[in-house]
Symmetry: C2
Subunit: 89 residues, 2 copies
Amino acid sequence: MDYITIIGLSAAALGGISLFPQVLKVLKTKSTKDISREMFLILACSILLWLIYGILLKNAPIIIANFFGFVQALIILFYKTKNQMKKRT
Amino acid sequence: MDYITIIGLSAAALGGISLFPQVLKVLKTKSTKDISREMFLILACSILLWLIYGILLKNAPIIIANFFGFVQALIILFYKTKNQMKKRT
């Protein structure tokens, strides 16, 4: 594997785990006021496309990193939407 | 350009613009309490690696998307760090 591929895979792996501290923070505080729902909506779409890209290329590291990234983005979006609905009712 | 490459480039482009709504929210409210600094630190590292990857591959869409993504991540980190320092002093 050449070093350019290693850089790309490291970038994908870091991207996949980056949401984890935010998920922990949301689960701990249940507060999502300062989080942009639009950001996580667009990010979830981006991660889903990376996941499809990984599946089409049969590239396991891209699939694994983006599968976990997608689940994490959904957890953050779930709490954000839940909090927004609470405020409206 | 085959459709797999188009999916990959779309994923990279969406990832690059995803931070924009969060930047707008931070600039508007100046509040970053619910944002995880660790998330944006790891994400900035990931975006920087994507930028290097794009430069090494001489791939303009990857370079452009991640250049803007990196600047946006730095703006969010700047406000988060500034707010955290204020609370400590």
